[in-house]
C-alpha cells in the first residue's frame, strides 16, 4: 500500500434517526496529498459522517467509500485507514503501552511498532502509567498513536484540536503536513476554525447535515485584499480606480482603503508613482472564520 494515493468518496449519503435527519444527501470527495478540513458548526453532522465513513454507523442511504470500498470491505482496514473519532477512548486501568499492545495484536503489528509510536508521540515517559491519570492531550496523543499503528495511507481525525495546547497543535500541524506531502489523504473535522486555518488546503463545509461548499480553500476564499492607510486616501482611491486592470476599492473606517485585485507591491508602487503617502500597508487574507460565517449564515449558501 506504500505510496498509494487513496480517495475518500461520499455520495448521496443520508442518515436519519427517526424524525431527525443528521446527514442529508451529502456528496464530496477528499483528495490525497492535501489536508482537507471538514467544517461545520456543532451538530452539523460531521461526526455522524465520519462514523459512516468508518462503518461504525450504517447510512440510511448513499455510500461512503475509501479507496473505492466501504470501510468494512477493506482487506485490513487499520493498514489503510487510521481514525481518531473519540480522543478519550481508553481503559483507565490500562497503561498507554497496554492500550497500544492490545490494538497492535488486533491489527497484527509487532510490538516494536508500539515502542516507535510511543516515541513519536512523546509518550515514552508516560508509557507505563495507567491512563486514568492522563490529561486530555495525552489521551488524544495515545489515540492518535493507536490510529497510526498500521502506518495508514488515510487519516481521519474528528476534532483533533480539542485538548491540545498550542505547542501540541503546532506539532500536529507539521505532522499532518508531512503526511499529506507523502501523498496520504488527511481529513480533519473541526468547529474551531482559527486553529486549523493554517493547516488545511481543501475544505468541505456542511451545515445541518447538508453540503454548503467544497473545494480548495484558496479558491473559496478568493484573492487576498490589501488594506492601505494613507492621509491622501481620496487621491489614492481615485488613482487606483483609473489604473488598469482596475481594482475594486472600498473605503473602510479610519480613513483606510481596502483594495482587491492588486497585491501590496502594486499598491505601493502606484502610490509612489503618484507621490502619495502610505502609512500602512497590510495584506488581508480572508479568514476561514469569515468565510465560514459567510457560508453558514446562508447569505452565500445558495450556489
Amino acid at each position: 500500500m506504500n505510496g498509494d494515493r487513496l480517495k475518500i468518496e461520499v455520495s448521496n449519503l443520508t442518515k436519519r434517526y427517526g424524525a431527525l435527519t443528521a446527514v442529508r444527501d451529502l456528496t464530496f470527495t477528499v483528495e490525497p496529498g492535501v489536508v482537507t478540513g471538514f467544517l461545520g458548526p456543532n451538530g452539523a453532522g460531521k461526526t455522524t459522517t465520519m462514523r459512516m465513513l468508518t462503518g461504525l454507523v450504517s447510512p440510511t442511504s448513499g455510500t461512503a467509500t475509501i479507496a473505492g470500498r466501504p470501510y468494512g470491505r477493506l482487506p485490513r482496514p487499520s493498514r489503510t485507514v487510521g481514525a481518531v473519532l473519540d480522543a478519550n477512548a481508553c481503559h483507565p486501568g490500562h497503561t498507554a503501552r497496554d492500550h497500544l499492545r492490545v490494538y497492535a495484536a488486533m491489527g497484527g503489528y509487532p510490538d516494536s511498532r508500539v515502542t516507535d509510536l510511543l516515541d513519536l508521540l512523546g509518550l515514552t515517559e508516560a508509557a507505563d502509567r495507567r491512563t486514568r491519570g492522563f490529561s486530555t492531550g495525552m489521551r488524544q496523543r495515545l489515540n492518535l498513536a493507536t490510529a497510526l499503528l498500521g502506518d495508514p495511507r488515510v487519516l481521519l481525525l474528528d476534532e483533533p484540536s480539542n485538548g491540545l495546547d498550542p505547542e501540541g497543535m503546532r506539532w500536529l500541524r507539521s505532522f499532518l503536513r508531512r503526511l499529506a506531502d507523502e501523498g496520504r489523504t488527511v481529513l480533519i473535522s473541526s468547529h474551531v476554525l482559527s486553529e486549523i486555518q493554517q493547516l488545511v488546503d481543501d475544505v468541505v463545509v456542511i451545515r445541518r447535515g447538508e453540503l454548503v461548499a467544497a473545494g480548495p480553500w484558496s479558491r473559496l476564499a478568493g484573492p487576498p485584499a490589501v488594506l492601505v492607510s494613507s492621509p491622501d486616501a481620496d487621491r489614492l482611491a481615485a488613482a487606483l480606480r483609473v489604473s488598469r486592470p482596475a481594482p475594486r476599492v472600498e473605503a473602510v473606517e479610519g480613513g483606510r482603503l481596502r483594495v482587491r485585485g492588486l497585491d501590496a507591491p502594486d499598491v505601493a508602487d502606484l502610490a509612489a508613482a503618484h507621490r502619495l503617502r502610505v502609512h500602512e500597508l497590510v495584506t488581508e487574507n480572508t479568514s476561514l472564520e469569515e468565510l465560514f460565517l459567510h457560508l453558514t449564515t446562508g447569505k452565500a449558501a445558495a450556489p
Binding site: L85, A89, H94
Partner: protein
C-alpha cells in the same frame, strides 16, 4: 481471528480485574469452603445436616455453586467496559466484522472462566479435605465423588462467565447489565422459587440447573417446606449440564448476533 484472541488476552491481563478474579476464586473456593467446613453445617442458622452425611456435604458444595454470580459479573464487567470507556469504536475500527470480536471475547473468557473454575474447585477441595483430616471427620461421600462434584461446579463457572459476557454484550450499559446479572443470579432466582407456580420453573432456570449438578435441593426443599408448596424436582445432573451449556450457547449467540448492525456512537 487469532489476532483478535491474542488482543483480548492482552486486554484481560492488562487490567487488575484479572488478578482480582483469581483471588476471588481462591477466597470463595478455599476460604469459604474452609470456613463452612470448620464451622460445620450443623452449626449454621438454620442448622443443616453435618459434613459426615451426604446431604450435608452436598449442601455446602451447593452453596459454593451459588457464588456463580461472581464470574458472571466479571464477564459482564469485562465486556461492558468497552462501551463504558468508549474503546468499542476503536476495536470495531480494527475489526469491522464485529461478530469476530465477540467470538474472540467468548473464547478468551471461556479460558478465563476455566482458570477461575479450576482455582475455585481446587482450593475448595484442598480446604475441605484439610479440615476433614484435621478434625477427624469422615466425609459423607467418597473423595472421588467429592472431586467430581467440585469439577462440575468449576465447569459451571465457565458457563456463568459466558452468560455474563452475553448479557453484557446485549445490554452494553455497565451498571444496568451488572444489576441485571447480579440481581437475577443472586436474588432473582431465589425469589422466583417463593412464588407458587413459578417455582415449578426453577429446575430449568440456570440456578436450578446448577443445583442439579450437585443434586443440591436443601435450599429449595427448605423453602417449599416453609411455604407449604410441593417439593422442587431437579433435573438429572447430565440434563442440568446440557441445559447450562444451552444457556451459555444462547447467551453467546445473542452476544455475537446482536452487535452486528447497531450504530456505535
Amino acid at each position: 481471528m487469532n489476532h483478535l484472541i491474542k488482543a483480548e488476552f492482552r486486554r484481560l491481563f492488562a487490567t487488575r480485574m484479572w488478578s482480582g478474579l483469581l483471588l476471588a476464586a481462591a477466597l470463595l473456593g478455599g476460604g469459604m469452603m474452609g470456613a463452612m467446613a470448620l464451622v460445620g453445617p450443623e452449626n449454621f442458622t438454620p442448622p443443616m445436616p453435618g459434613m459426615d452425611t451426604e446431604t450435608g456435604l452436598r449442601s455446602i458444595l451447593g452453596i459454593l455453586g451459588y457464588t456463580a454470580f461472581v464470574p458472571a459479573a466479571a464477564g459482564t464487567l469485562a465486556v461492558t467496559s468497552e462501551y463504558r470507556h468508549r474503546t468499542a469504536a476503536v476495536t470495531f475500527l480494527f475489526a469491522p466484522r464485529r461478530w469476530q470480536v465477540v467470538a474472540a471475547k467468548l473464547a478468551t473468557y471461556a479460558v478465563a472462566g476455566l482458570a477461575y473454575g479450576l482455582i475455585l474447585a481446587g482450593t475448595a477441595a484442598a480446604a475441605l479435605f484439610a479440615v476433614a483430616a484435621a478434625s477427624g471427620t469422615s466425609l459423607g461421600l467418597p473423595p472421588g465423588t467429592v472431586l467430581a462434584l467440585l469439577a462440575r461446579i468449576g465447569l459451571a463457572m465457565v458457563v456463568y462467565l459466558l452468560i455474563g459476557v452475553g448479557v453484557g454484550a446485549l445490554l452494553r450499559n455497565q451498571v444496568v447489565a451488572l444489576c441485571v446479572v447480579i440481581g437475577y443470579l443472586y436474588m432473582g432466582e431465589t425469589l422466583l422459587m417463593m412464588i407458587p407456580g413459578v417455582n415449578a420453573l426453577y429446575p430449568v432456570l440456570p440456578g436450578g440447573a446448577t443445583a442439579s449438578l450437585t443434586d443440591f435441593t436443601y435450599l429449595a426443599d427448605a423453602m417449599s417446606q416453609e411455604l407449604g408448596s410441593t417439593a422442587v424436582q431437579l433435573l438429572p445432573p447430565a440434563a442440568g449440564a446440557l441445559l447450562l451449556t444451552a444457556y451459555a450457547l444462547a447467551a453467546s449467540l445473542i452476544a455475537v448476533i446482536i452487535p452486528m448492525r447497531r450504530d456505535i456512537t
